[in-house]
Amino acid sequence: MTALPAWLRPGTSPLAPHRPGRSHLRRGAEALAARLGALARPAPPPSGFLAALDPRAKVIGGLCLIVAATLTGQPLVLALGYTGCLLLAAWSRLPLRRFLALWLAVPLFSAVVMLPATLDVVTPGHPLLVLWHDAAWRIGAWRLPSALTVTDAGLLAAGRMVLRTALCASLAWLVAASTPPVRLFYGLRVLGVPSAFVMTLALMHRYLAVLVQAAHDLHLARLSRTVGPSPGGALAFVAAGVGSLFRRTHSLGRSVCLAMLSRGYRGEVRLLDAPRWQAQDWLASLTCCLALAAAWWWR
């Protein structure tokens, strides 16, 4: 079979390459195209370790490990878990480039948010680095502190937060990337989530791409009719776009409902291929539960 050309693949915007100062319309269209690409991503290879696990085991295990990471305050344990996620992704043959992008971006983003927490004005402690002292700087009527230092307690708190956030995000990604969304939602049933809610999630995910595509088309149509900088009616476009999308949502909802009723839907949810719980699922779930118990014990 001939592969699709690059410009026809999902997630590819037919727009010209980026330019600095691009308009909100172009940014919106590009973000929507990227989201479409993420929704159309191929299923994970079934041969990998994580992909072979039952989705319920992955939901239990993922949740236990995320709660364990939240309970743990030891930076070394968090760093080990963070490195372990990378090894697990490689062992499970998940797309490493995508994982590395997240693996590196999340701590950087968290570090920016946590930067003020390293300062003595937020977290008092033993000063490690003096940024300034005996200064009398003012911004209008606002006087900056006469001295500002980076403290050991601040660095520890910020470092712990960065590692913990990165580990939790990595664990969530591993579960999501190794499980097709519908099976992942099915896995939520093990936590007692009602079947109607699971079905709402599955249907939402199925029609999300349709609505994202509609929103992308709206942006493209507007862009193709706009010459030069975007005129002042940006808010009017957003309001009309959201309103028009709601009309489409409403009509699609009614059509989908009629289609489901005509195929025998009476409010009951049935899965065609319910996964089976195997020995490896027991082992993985128990290991994660033990990790949670250990984190609880040594918290």
């Binding site: 919106g28 709402t200 939402m204 929103a215 959201v242 409902c257």
Partner: protein, 343 residues
């Protein structure tokens, strides 16, 4: 406002899920009772709509862009309980599939974005719109005001969750184990950007979308049935019941600070506290402080004792009095707005 994993302590995350559980249960029951079999596709599409609304960029001053949350719009168009399910579903998909918002923090995120925001916004819209016909500008005004207040209320609860972390989770040396920013920093940082910037984006998108629907397809508006009056009478007795419950919970504002050893909020000190903190009583503060001697200073009679039970009773009485005054004045304004026009 999507709180990631790791920022909130396990106690806060557990409380988030515990608070959300009854909301999800009631929302499922209410939606089931009103939408019947149509509920799943409509709700699923409503959830997808919520998700996509967050992707419409709006230019904001400074050359950057922001986006609306859309929870108030969904509450107005589908009803507040349907909005709880739709926005929660969108948040679940964002957390599970796109890493936007944490899994442990999901309960807290749902409380802020799927409960506080739609209910505050929807209530404001109903209060302002009243029984005005579907095409009335009061609906647009109410939706815009609802968007602004709903987003800011959600931002406030988010900031309070962040700000409480150093108080409730710290090590033996007092160092914070989770988000290290106290209430003062969190409320200022999150509150200001929403009050001055994102609140207006939300207001504009919510109000203008409703105005667009009024022109383009009024049949989709929830107030367009019949003669333009709302299709269902407003359950005032339930609002009253909820308000009474909150009034009875008011003494928590005394017990929690006493239990956590917290002092007065920053900048809300009494003149005596300022004198104690600063070592002297500023002359201007003393002079201005004497202009209006409040009848119930600190929500209690000056003759009340210092014990928590007596203060709690005064807290409840003050809350009830405040609610009565507010409801009475709003009712007066509404009567004035709805007066028949002179020929």
């Amino acid at each position: 406002m999507h709180i990631p994993d790791g920022y909130l302590s396990p106690q806060t995350c557990a409380a988030g899920y515990a608070v959300m559980a009854p909301f999800w249960a009631v929302a499922s029951r209410r939606v089931k009772a009103t939408l019947r079999l149509r509920q799943v596709p409509l709700l699923a599409l409503g959830a997808a709509f919520t998700f996509v609304v967050m992707m419409f960029n709006v230019p904001i001053p400074g050359g950057t862009t922001g986006h609306a949350v859309g929870a108030v719009l969904v509450a107005i168009l589908l009803g507040p309980w349907a909005a709880v399910i739709a926005v929660s579903s969108a948040l679940v998909v964002q957390a599970l599939l796109f890493g936007d918002g944490g899994i442990t923090a999901l309960g807290a995120n749902c409380f802020n974005i799927a409960v506080v925001m739609p209910f505050v916004g929807w209530g404001t819209w109903r209060l302002v719109a009243g029984k005005a016909p579907a095409g009335s500008p009061r609906h647009v005004l109410g939706a815009a005001l609802g968007g602004y207040l709903g987003l800011n209320a959600a931002a406030l609860t988010t900031a309070v969750m962040f700000g409480l972390q150093p108080l409730i989770a710290h090590d033996a040396a007092g160092r914070p184990l989770y988000s290290p920013f106290g209430l003062k920093v969190a409320v200022t940082a999150i509150g200001l950007e929403h009050l001055l910037l994102f609140g207006f984006v939300e207001a504009a998108v919510t109000g203008l979308t409703l105005a667009w629907l009024q022109r383009a397809d009024p049949s989709l508006l929830p107030v367009s049935s019949g003669d333009g009056a709302p299709s269902k009478s407003f359950p005032l007795w339930r609002l009253g019941g909820g308000l009474a419950g909150l009034v009875l919970l008011a003494p928590l504002g005394l017990y929690l600070p006493a239990r956590l050893g917290a002092g007065s909020a920053w900048g809300e000190w009494s003149a005596r506290e300022v004198a104690r903190l600063a070592g002297f009583m500023p002359e201007g503060l003393r002079r201005l402080g004497e202009i209006w001697p409040a009848p119930l200073p600190d929500y209690a009679s000056p003759a009340a004792g210092a014990g928590l039970p007596a203060l709690s009773l005064w807290y409840v009485l003050s809350a009830a009095l405040g609610c009565l005054l507010l409801v009475g004045s709003l009712w007066g304004v509404r009567r004035w707005l709805a007066r028949p026009e002179s020929p």
